[in-house]
Point group: C2
Chain length 204, copies 2
DNA sequence: TCTATACATTGACTTTGGGTAAGAAATTAT
DNA sequence: ATAATTTCTTACCCAAAGTCAATGTATAGA
């Protein structure tokens, strides 16, 4: 990823990828697809750059094409990580979007990240033009709610060590992509404790 | 709540209460309201009775009129409480409803509880007849998602003691309604630890 | 390539929570 | 009202996690 990497070429190829996704639904004509993709923009962010900061109002929905975005809160000077978004996951702040309420968290890139972005206005337009997409999004809203219900339940019912083992099982890629101190705060422990947990597990 | 308590009278008064709620929206005629309320049933449950058990498929949505419902998981013999629903809150299992997937948790009444119930079919009918209600429900779905995002974040970023203090601040009624061992598992600790936490706080 | 910085591990010590068991207090049922 | 049961508290000891400080190890920048 040095001299010969062209951002514009990258973005074009991403847009083509999205068109292919639409094509697979095969309810759309080519013109439909072009029109829909017109409503989307592609955004790339370098490692460490922020997508959103505490106090800002979100007026967009994102979907991760490649890379990793971390959600964290700043609680008296400390970053408390609450989520990692990776390929295929979408990011939106339900009530900030609809009610113009500032968010309380940060969204920061763990690595070079490519996102598809759609503004609220364009989203409305897209839904009114392609109602299928709206029902799809309602379904994914429901699924997302269900996911969060389960995540909360899992968090309440497990110890840090179990959470680390769950991470190993269900999102092993994260371990190689994310610095340990961020994983630690995601698991609800200090980096020192995570280090000890890892040691304990190795000894078994 | 003894001899002179009449269940049917209670249910009638609850239905009237609901009609008044609809009336306040004032987009409905009286016939509309009657028709809508026809689609709803009222259910009462005694303390300790279950609304839903692990393995069952939920085909209904509930809203608490009065009382308190506890959600818990059974993890190798232990009840792990993950939520308390009280007056005004609604209970539904997004993906069990739409995908017919069995739920993994229990819903049990902490005290005598009155619920309004609507089946999925009736819900569809209600939405097609009164589209306002559908957009309202989509909004509340979003809000619910936002709530869960915040709850997860809060849970990750706080200690059991802080969570207890938060409960004191934001849901103090729960402390008098819910037995401590259930609160304890909701806070992610044993009853003994909650007892110690309470003592520690008193000493400050 | 070397250096500065960030990140990870380890150790000593403190605090907090878990496990068990016993007894006190409060509820519930008879 | 009394007995039975459930719930809550306390005490003990142990394990796990927090804190602080020191030491390695990686990484990124100059």
């Amino acid at each position: 990823m040095a001299k010969q990497f062209s951002e514009t070429a990258h973005i074009d190829s991403v847009k083509n990828g999205i068109k292919k996704c639409f094509a697979e639904l095969d309810t759309f004509t080519n013109e439909d697809i072009d029109a829909a993709v017109e409503l989307i923009t592609i955004k790339t962010l370098k490692k460490g750059e922020h997508l959103l900061r505490e106090g800002e109002v979100s007026a967009k929905s994102y979907s991760i094409v490649s890379g990793c975005v971390r959600q964290y809160y700043l609680v008296n000077g400390e970053e408390k990580t609450t989520f990692f978004y990776t390929e295929g996951q979408s990011i939106f702040s339900p009530n900030s979007n609809t009610e113009r309420i500032p968010v309380k968290y940060y969204l920061s890139c763990v690595e070079y990240t490519t996102l598809s972005v759609i503004s609220l206005e364009n989203q409305k337009e897209m839904y009114s033009r392609f109602p299928v997409l709206e029902s799809m999004s309602r379904l994914s809203l429901q699924e997302e709610l269900h996911n969060y219900q389960e995540m909360l339940a899992t968090y309440i019912t497990t110890s840090p060590e179990e959470r680390y083992l769950n991470l190993l099982k269900f999102r092993p890629e994260l371990l190689n992509r994310v610095p340990q101190y961020q994983l630690a705060s995601y698991l609800g422990v200090t980096p020192e404790s995570l280090s000890r947990i890892r040691k304990r597990i190795l000894l078994k």
